[in-house]
């Protein structure tokens, strides 16, 4: 009896609250949960990059929650939630974990792990369940040429990763003739430098050295000793953060007399500045930069629709939340969420097939840049809109190291400089 009274009271309370708070005319929107799953490299060698990617994604999630969800046309609010496991930076468990996400946790959509190798492994699982997977932190071309139909890449692929550096060099010093390539021997860096080398040859450069180093390399003396004799004008290559930073530092210590150094991945990271003067003049391709000039205005100029958060808003929100500047991995994480959100809105449904069709049609500008996916059968899902920007560490008037964007010309915030000893 007492229970009944209590229940009645509760019901009455809820009802009165409902009347008090809810606007009378509009029915309360139905909220539907959308689960997004992925694996993250919380441990192992990729944990730094992966962590930033996840932080970016979590920022996106917060923003969506603040906005009350993703609104569909019938008023339904989609409330995304994320579910992820640690993959230890190893391919071992990636397939098992993605299968678990799909069949047990019943996730609706997927985001890729960090790095091309793990992504390809995950793609085999995502594809067979027809789950849409947005890949971020995975720039390999070859992954996107394996006939996958539900995988969408937002990074500029490896084939266009370093080619801008070749153009920049030619523009900066038309007399430059010889380039030495030294790269990390793994999938991504090998892909990038192989394409860049081919491109450089087409542009009339001589490749005086093309050699790879092992992932865990900390001593670049053997390479530097080989670089010196043929007297190259430029050095390009690198791999990931640790080795790239070390390489730049040792090039500086050994006073290698080249005019131009472009290194993958490391230079755009704010932490690159820790090597001090060795960072000066180093050029690096970046998927995204806090100084990138993407805005609703530039969208209009390019004749593209603009979508989502602004560059400055993202940068400051990220800084407030995590205490330091976002890198392009962070931006990639946020962008993955954003593109997925746009896909849902356009599809006006959570149906995978409809979202896939919507993503196929996407052609827009975001804070991350231009996003458009290839729809050809062979290369479906490959990113064809997004472009790299190139930063260069330079000393400002006060002698402080900064990294303005120097290429492409239309997006630059400072002029590129030739390296001086």
């Amino acid at each position: 009896m007492r229970k009944l009274v209590f229940l009645a009271l509760v019901v009455a309370l809820i009802a009165s609250l409902g009347v008090a708070c809810g606007p009378v005319a509009a029915p309360t929107p139905t909220v539907k949960r959308v689960l997004v799953g992925f694996t993250a490299s919380q441990t192992g060698k990729l944990n730094k990059e992966s962590k930033e990617q996840i932080q970016g994604l979590q920022l996106w999630l917060e923003d969506v929650k603040k906005a009350g969800g993703i609104k569909l046309k019938d008023g339904t609010m989609l409330m995304p939630e994320i579910k992820f496991y640690d993959d230890e930076s190893l391919t071992d468990r990636v397939q098992a974990l993605y299968t678990k996400l799909i069949t047990e946790d019943k996730v609706d959509f997927l985001i890729s792990p960090y790095s091309s190798g793990l992504t390809q492994t995950a793609a085999v699982v995502a594809e067979q369940y027809g789950k849409v997977m947005i890949t971020t932190g995975a720039a390999s071309d070859t992954t996107m040429e394996q006939g996958f139909k539900t995988i969408f890449q937002i990074y500029t692929p490896a084939s266009r990763y370093l080619t801008g550096a070749v153009d920049l060099l030619q523009k900066l010093d038309p007399t430059a003739k010889k380039i030495a390539f030294v790269y990390e021997k793994e999938r991504f860096s090998t892909d990038v430098t192989t394409f860049a080398q081919k491109y450089a040859k087409e542009k009339g450069f001589d490749i005086v050295l093309f050699e790879g180093y092992d992932t865990a390399t900390t001593d670049f003396a053997p390479f530097i000793n080989k670089i010196m004799p043929p007297k190259p004008d430029a050095i390009m290559g690198g791999g990931h953060f640790t080795d790239g930073t070390t390489f730049a530092k040792q090039l500086y210590e050994k006073k290698v007399p080249v005019k131009f150094v472009a290194i993958l991945v490391a230079p755009p990271e704010p932490a690159f500045v820790e090597i001090g003067d060795a960072a000066q003049y180093v050029v690096g391709p970046s998927q995204w930069e806090p100084l990138a000039r993407y805005s609703p205005e530039s969208a209009k100029a390019a004749g593209l629709p603009w979508y989502g958060i602004g560059v400055a808003d993202f940068t400051s929100a990220y800084k407030t939340k995590y205490g330091y500047e976002p890198s392009y991995h962070s931006a990639g994480g946020y962008a993955a969420g954003l593109i997925f959100q746009k896909g849902l809105e356009e599809a006006d449904s959570v149906d995978a097939e409809k979202v896939k069709t919507a993503l196929d049609r996407l052609d827009l500008l975001t804070f991350f840049g231009h996003i458009k996916f290839d729809t050809a059968a062979k290369t479906h899902g490959k990113q064809i809109g997004h472009e790299m920007v190139y930063v260069q560490w330079q000393k400002d008037a006060a002698g402080k190291l900064v990294k303005p964007v120097v290429w492409p010309l239309e997006g630059k915030s400072a002029d590129a400089q030739l390296r001086k000893q």
Partner: protein, 323 residues
């Protein structure tokens, strides 16, 4: 005709594995299938290591080299010559065995720590070689076009197919492990383990025995590697020759019970379940390596014989029944 108990024990063990392996098929759970796939793969690896380590007393630290080579051989055949997966896997097993045979003749002359170090060296040398070997894709490795799976009824079926294959290989491995242990050959191996010089006096040719054991123990991991990388669709030198996984294999053998047939199985299952639990548990996920290490230390220090060995010591009755 009356069967002896050890034979029945083998059938019982195989029956249990089959029964467990059937569960994901019956309830159509891909997630459980993936978990079991990994577990069975480790059962194969641990049981194989046990043949050379548990029976013969030679600690093969770099045993993963056969897993990696198997994967590479099979992948190469499937990718370049469109060889059917089963054939490619078998060929890779034979290839790895031949490699082990040729390698074993000189390397098995080494004893104790020297042999252990040599196997590490071999694994690292092979990994570096493959990283530079262009026909195997070098540092980038090799990968399948998604359409490759069409020949096996699409990727979804292919993954089930890979699962059946791993179950089959696991069964054969366990049976082989059992038969070797119970044969005259196995007795010879164990005599070598206890005292190689005495064994020689008793008329056992240690080199022949050891090399044969090494050859056998290379065959099954190669098959497992072929299946694993077929399923992944990509093979790269790093994951193929991961020394850490090799050492984890040793841990499993120790955990379950060195020199027993069921030990490596129990060890692989317990270790893998524990790791999976720690990784997917938000409270422990960052500490899983530490916990795995602590557990290993406790076993090594206090339960040297492993789970199965401990049971055999504690419950004399089991000695007759538990192999």
């Amino acid at each position: 005709m009356k069967r002896t108990w050890p034979q029945s024990f083998l059938w019982l063990t195989l029956l249990i594995i089959v029964a467990i392996a059937l569960i994901p098929i019956l309830i159509d759970s891909a997630s459980l299938r993936e978990d079991l796939f990994l577990t069975l793969m480790l059962v194969i690896l641990a049981s194989s290591i046990n043949i050379i380590m548990g029976y013969t007393g030679y600690v093969s630290f770099g045993h993963i080299v056969f897993f990696g080579l198997g994967g590479y051989f099979a992948f190469f055949l499937m990718l370049n010559y469109q060889v059917h997966f089963v054939l490619a896997a078998l060929a890779s097993g034979v290839g790895a065995s031949v490699f082990a045979f040729l390698l074993g003749i000189p390397v098995l002359r080494l004893r104790g720590a020297y042999f252990a170090l040599a196997t590490i060296g071999i694994n690292e040398a092979v990994r570096s070689f493959v990283t530079n070997f262009e026909p195997f894709g070098g540092a980038v490795g090799m990968f399948f076009n998604y359409a490759v799976y069409d020949a096996y009824g699409g990727a979804r079926n292919a993954l089930w197919f890979a699962y059946y294959a791993i179950v089959a290989v696991a069964l054969v491995t366990v049976a082989a492990s059992f038969l070797i242990k119970k044969s005259k050959f196995g007795l010879g191996l164990m005599a070598i383990r206890e005292d190689q010089d005495t064994a020689q006096v008793l008329g056992i040719d240690p080199t022949r025995y050891k090399v044969l054991a090494y050859t056998c123990s290379a065959f099954f991991p190669a098959l497992a590697g072929a299946i694993f990388f077929f399923k992944n669709g990509i093979i790269e030198p790093g994951p193929a020759f991961a020394l850490l996984r090799s050492i984890e294999g040793l841990v499993m053998v120790m955990l379950g019970g060195y020199g027993t047939v069921t030990g490596p199985i129990v060890g692989a299952v317990v270790y893998e379940r524990l790791r999976a639990f720690l990784i997917t548990n938000p409270n422990f996920s960052s500490l899983h390596l530490f916990i795995a290490g602590l557990l290993l230390l406790v076993i090594v220090l206090f339960v040297t014989a492993g789970v199965v060995g401990w049971l055999r010591q504690r419950v004399p009755l089991l000695r007759r029944y538990l192999e």
